[in-house]
């Protein structure tokens, strides 16, 4: 029993990190039906921004967010306004291809500038643990990941529910034409939404960078995690993203516990397949 407690606890905490990794993607899917294949790479890009800022100013990675958040908002806004908005239409393929192209460009730019070496964002909390009992430890960074993940989800839902821009984003996701009739400049609103999705990617990137190591190609791996979380939780659902994150992380960690760490990914995605079989729209998704 005690040996199970550790992977279960870690799974919940890691679930918070997975949730924030997927948050931006579920937001954009919910709003513009856009599957942002570059989401993972943009997240890793934020990790590299943090790396560069830390190298320059020698500060804690979390402080670097002050600079990265506005940068990523602008990048998201520009990508949506001048790239993705142009190909939005009745078909899903054109934006998918643009995002895929963007993903390749980002990966190779990172490779060019930062070399393929493994990097990590060093912070004193990365190595600390809190001892709960003789057998149970909480890695401090996992706890931080979880708390920040939950707070960002909470703040984002507050933003979507209580502000004019948040409501405009939600209304545009319900009915673009009707939103325009209310006076919403929907193209601009989509760009703002992407900017906000990129803020969550920026935070996720720094958390991932402090928790694990990353390479220019790691984005795809996190994109896969984001996909898993979004599918389990339900596309476009805020509540679902946390639950999806926890289920995926638990599946991976418990799977690794019972078999071997080598099967961690496999078991995670087996659970994903099972969820798809039982509840194809995800736990909080709307059936069509």
């Amino acid at each position: 029993m005690e040996s199970l407690a550790q992977p279960i606890l870690n799974g919940i905490l890691l679930g918070g990190l997975y949730a924030i990794i997927a948050l931006g993607m579920t937001t954009m899917f919910g709003i513009v039906k856009l599957v942002n294949l570059a989401h993972g790479d943009l997240m890793i890009l934020s990790g590299y921004f943090s790396l560069a800022i830390i190298a320059q100013f020698d500060i804690n990675p979390f402080w670097s967010l002050i600079g990265i958040i506005p940068i990523m908002f602008v990048i998201g806004f520009v990508i949506q306004k001048y790239l993705l908005n142009r190909v939005l239409g009745s078909e899903m393929e054109p934006p998918l291809l643009v995002a895929f192209g963007l993903s390749i460009i980002i990966q190779n730019l990172l490779l060019l500038v930062f070399t393929p070496d493994a990097q990590s964002l060093k912070s004193s909390i990365s190595v600390q643990t809190i001892k709960l009992t003789e057998y149970l430890n909480v890695p401090l960074i996992y706890l931080v990941d979880f708390l920040i993940g939950c707070s960002v989800i909470f703040l984002l839902s507050l933003f979507f529910n209580k502000t004019y821009i948040g409501r405009a984003i939600r209304s545009a996701s319900d009915d673009v034409i009707a939103a325009q009739l209310m006076g919403v400049d929907t193209k601009n609103i989509f760009a703002i939404a992407m900017g906000i999705a990129m803020i969550t990617a920026a935070i996720a990137g720094v958390l991932v960078g402090t928790t694990f190591s990353f390479y220019p190609h790691t984005g795809a791996q996190y994109l896969l995690i984001a996909f898993g979380v979004v599918i389990i939780g339900g596309l476009g659902s805020m509540k679902g993203v946390l639950l999806g994150g926890i289920i995926l992380a638990e599946a991976q960690l418990l799977g690794a516990h019972f078999t071997s760490p080598g099967y961690q990914q496999l078991i995670g995605y087996l659970v994903l397949l099972i969820v798809l079989r039982i509840r194809p729209q995800g736990f909080f998704g709307q059936a069509h």
Partner: protein
């Protein structure tokens, strides 16, 4: 041309790709009146409405609202000028609550200032909306959704409301109630355009009527002076 016109359309042509939907349509709306546009399915009524608010770009012709040209302006600017469209099929924001839908109606910076007063007013017009203010819009009945769509349009404090097929699919009792409300809204000085397929009802409710057929205006006149049979003939093109 009367100087009292809130909206003047001259020689409007609208195409969907190769298909011409409106042919040289001219129309005048006198401020404070109820004007009905009658026509069968596909006669161009909805295209006319969506062109006024900028959802379609006309190939030629002019649309003047309060003396200023508005043709080709994007839709989000039409509502800022004071034109609200109650779209065909209601198009309420399904997953937003009734209250949130109404707040979306007051999205423009001008409308935001008076949103509380307007909300009270809309709840006065449609008490049922107040009862259901925290419910998601898609849980409302068809009639309630139509009231919500009208209420949402009112929230923007429009000078002109375009109602596209508001009685479609509703029970006669509900339609009657909604028309009564519209009359009250009109009494506050708001100009109303009613797009309808129902000849009798639109003639009764309106001050002035236009009949459209195949993208053209084929008959017009004071609603009271128009003969129902004459209108029906124009409607079917016989």
């Amino acid at each position: 041309m009367s100087t009292n016109n809130i909206l003047t359309i001259q020689g409007l042509n609208v195409h969907y790709k190769d298909l011409q939907a409106l042919w040289d349509v001219s129309l005048e709306l006198e401020e404070g009146k109820i004007v009905s546009i009658i026509g069968a399915n596909g006669s161009g009524k909805s295209t006319l409405m969506t062109s006024i608010v900028g959802l379609n770009t006309p190939t030629s012709g002019t649309i003047d609202f309060q003396g200023e040209p508005i043709q080709g302006l994007p839709p989000h600017l039409a509502v800022e000028r004071g034109i609200a469209l109650v779209p065909e099929g209601r198009r309420v924001f399904a997953r937003l609550s009734v209250y949130e839908n109404l707040m979306m109606g007051a999205y423009t910076s001008k409308a935001r200032q008076n949103k509380d007063i307007m909300l009270e007013k809309v709840y006065d017009f449609f008490p049922r909306l107040k009862e259901r203010q925290n419910q998601a819009a898609n849980s409302l009945s068809g009639g309630e959704q139509q009231m919500l769509a009208i209420g949402r349009a009112l929230m923007s404090e429009p000078r002109l409301i375009l109602c596209d097929e508001i009685s479609l699919g509703l029970a006669p009792v509900i339609i009657k109630e909604i028309y009564k409300r519209l009359k009250k809204i009109n009494e506050e000085g708001i100009t109303i355009v009613l797009v309808e397929q129902d000849v009798k009802r639109s003639l009764k409710a309106a001050d002035y009527s236009y009949v459209m057929l195949e993208g053209k205006i084929v008959l017009q006149g004071e609603a009271a002076s128009l003969d129902e049979d004459e209108v029906k003939k124009a409607y079917f093109g016989i």
